[in-house]
Symmetry: D4
Subunit: 145 residues, 8 copies
Amino acid sequence: MIELVSSIIMVAPLVSIIMGSSSDKAIATKAEKILDASGIPFETKILSAHRQPTELVDYVNSTSSEVFICIAGLAAALPGVVAAHTEKPVIGVPVSGNRAIGGMDALLSIVQMPSGVPVACVGIDNGKNAAHLAIRILHVAGKGE
Amino acid sequence: MIELVSSIIMVAPLVSIIMGSSSDKAIATKAEKILDASGIPFETKILSAHRQPTELVDYVNSTSSEVFICIAGLAAALPGVVAAHTEKPVIGVPVSGNRAIGGMDALLSIVQMPSGVPVACVGIDNGKNAAHLAIRILHVAGKGE
Amino acid sequence: MIELVSSIIMVAPLVSIIMGSSSDKAIATKAEKILDASGIPFETKILSAHRQPTELVDYVNSTSSEVFICIAGLAAALPGVVAAHTEKPVIGVPVSGNRAIGGMDALLSIVQMPSGVPVACVGIDNGKNAAHLAIRILHVAGKGE
Amino acid sequence: MIELVSSIIMVAPLVSIIMGSSSDKAIATKAEKILDASGIPFETKILSAHRQPTELVDYVNSTSSEVFICIAGLAAALPGVVAAHTEKPVIGVPVSGNRAIGGMDALLSIVQMPSGVPVACVGIDNGKNAAHLAIRILHVAGKGE
Amino acid sequence: MIELVSSIIMVAPLVSIIMGSSSDKAIATKAEKILDASGIPFETKILSAHRQPTELVDYVNSTSSEVFICIAGLAAALPGVVAAHTEKPVIGVPVSGNRAIGGMDALLSIVQMPSGVPVACVGIDNGKNAAHLAIRILHVAGKGE
Amino acid sequence: MIELVSSIIMVAPLVSIIMGSSSDKAIATKAEKILDASGIPFETKILSAHRQPTELVDYVNSTSSEVFICIAGLAAALPGVVAAHTEKPVIGVPVSGNRAIGGMDALLSIVQMPSGVPVACVGIDNGKNAAHLAIRILHVAGKGE
Amino acid sequence: MIELVSSIIMVAPLVSIIMGSSSDKAIATKAEKILDASGIPFETKILSAHRQPTELVDYVNSTSSEVFICIAGLAAALPGVVAAHTEKPVIGVPVSGNRAIGGMDALLSIVQMPSGVPVACVGIDNGKNAAHLAIRILHVAGKGE
Amino acid sequence: MIELVSSIIMVAPLVSIIMGSSSDKAIATKAEKILDASGIPFETKILSAHRQPTELVDYVNSTSSEVFICIAGLAAALPGVVAAHTEKPVIGVPVSGNRAIGGMDALLSIVQMPSGVPVACVGIDNGKNAAHLAIRILHVAGKGE
């Protein structure tokens, strides 16, 4: 099930925010607020790399977005799987949740990608910086300004 | 490219050994020797979850194997991606390589799967135990004896 | 003292859930619910590898269960000790408890088994995935379906 | 002293590779080869955030590059300092060196940036992925193709 | 914006306490109390190395203080940046905040400085010891007694 | 198979050195030299908690030794299993081997014992201190002097 | 100041419990209860290795106790300093407190002693096992029974 | 035994370099070279906090040095013990040695001092920065210039 979390999109989105689980919503909201304030059109999805692999790939292949922000905890495969199916920049946000291991699992699962499939990792739970980085990337193209 | 590493299969394989990279070969060999000694038919593939996602899923869907052994280092998404596309048991082997972080990245990337998509993680570089575990699983079914 | 925690078993159990301590009960319950929902007969015991080593081995040797789920925190020897006394598949669940070290002690104590005595480790506190993995293993044998 | 390490630039560079120390050269070379193969004009500098802070800022403010790749070990402040002085995307590569701590110091120093000053962190010693990520970013703008 | 947090300075300060963020205030207060009790004149500033790099350098270059206490969390570049712009002793205090990673990021970002730019790191959240260390340093000069 | 590694015992041993694997021999030798130099009678065994659980318990129950030194790597259950079967003091020595994880797995597996079953853990690979500690314990009883 | 915390000693103590700080009292109480229940005479002191080094050494040299239990957090030098001034067995208990680093600092500060000066480390916050270990040591001498 | 390692002192030393073991000599040499080049009189001692506690304290109390540099590995109590016996600034250098744990034990043992007894910790194996920091401290007093 692809749930449309945010529907404030009037124009084709430039950024796709994908959460691995609805429990990552607080982190996604941080990113949404920054993008909103900058007037960047975006859309937000909940799509697990492990539980909805086919829907995830279908979405990645069909969206107009130029940049992906992928938010995931635990063995956070989401950003890497998205990066494996697109040539567009993918930003990963590791989520700590309430877990004792403090998000180190998600951080290492996101940042330590094999050569050839890069993910741009930002800090643990730092949805804001994911949005700021997306904006910087779009500005190189003169987009989102 | 799906490279056939081992072709000593006379009968349909019961175990599939999948490496994320050819650099994981030494670990795969440890598992192969144990399976060979037990007379378990198996086949070995090199298929990266990040670099060959489509071929990987095609292989998982088409093989007759009852158990998967997935060997990977770094942000080791391989076992989890396989587990997301099959209902069969998936065993993950984290690989340390020569890397300073000692395989903790691969260990956490393999073991910390979200609920609903289990991976059976064995020790870092412990290809032998992956094979021993596969044999135990097959014995429940009276297979491979 | 072998305490019978759950007694909803009508038929011979296919899965044994063993906790190292009654404080691991919340994790065991997660596994029980999944097995219940799948109609897999199971039984649950509290047996410490360190405090009741003899009773533990007696139980492992006498049960009809095909798969063991062992739940333990701290220096979690339970899954390894069970695996040393049976040839059946053993699944280990590391428990974090309220402890500051976050379950890394239990995770490493469970996953880093010596060659020849495999334990199938799942994520920290992830009783659900232990049950899902047990179900996958039983399905290879056409059991529990 | 701003040392010009690579001078194969015929046109204005699109990517600046900055090393914190000449000992990071092997990692920089990995990035250079990928950019070269893709025909992306780049230049490479050795500029320490701690030992040449003024020269570093002067360089960041004057270059035509659209993307920065910053390579640093230990308390790797380089990518963050560059990100503090530009609005362009900054990619950070943590370096492990021969150090026993395995690059975890550099990884955390690069990825855990405060909100508002994003750095796109790639894997430890993974100069290749820094280049691949830079190429993805430039392609959003239709540059470097 | 350079905000003057404490203005109880009658004489030129001997110690400057710089926080990377207003959220580090509780740690700064611990240091202030120790300095106050010892009669050491000091002033306290909030200046982020990443968000106010120019103001930070201007302040470091203009103050009469003999010792700097820099308090920062996450990728705590503050002490290192100050040490890069002065020849005076710089003390760094890593801050854990409420973050799951426990201040290890800030500790490594502060202590693992490259050779030539030393920072005197004290314990996580230990603002008291930063003040005690500053007093010991001033006493070598017969100051603050 | 219980292999008698050292047979220089003329009198009943006061200390039993038990290795989990023959690969731990270098660490055992360090302990043996200290005991030898102090004139403490000892014997050394190779007995895996996971691979020879029955022989191990039989040995623990039958020896005259007053103190056990248990040397083990990986998921080092050996000291804890011995402590579960005797009321005598048990000293554990974590072994790092050549493994990238540096013995942290063995350290946590040995030191984090549940309440009621204590193990006296010494430093990683520190066979010498295990012997020194055994001597201190025997001296309380006026033995080994 | 040597504060006498517990004064229920009728006979010369066999065990000395030393805390590094009054904040370690909850851990000391766990040990006291076990010793009390076993009828072992003991006394409890608060003596910091860092803040009261002279008083600490004086106490160690003058007590009749046969075994020391040293409880400390952070850079827990207490057990090692005691072990440096006595030939009697010293048990160390690392304390986590409320600190984010989870007691790993205290654990490593206690267990990684240099050769020749052994400390018997038990688990983080595990005052109970310190007492159980002390009792095992005293039983070798036929004391405390 | 207090061994005089370096005797190039013509005048009373301003800095004392103390190693916990002769195996730390390579790190001490790095500091000596920096101090030599700056014309700072110093002397170097090998004095273990654990094996020579009395000689260590005697030396600290009798030297004319204004700053201490303490170099130690493992459970590195040396800097803290020195800081407990002097009111002068104490700099600690954690040593990794060849050990698999990478100096994290020494780092935490040095930096996590209790409040009131500060140690100025520099990076792992970074003898150079210890010297640079000592020079900065002496310059506050107009010494060593």
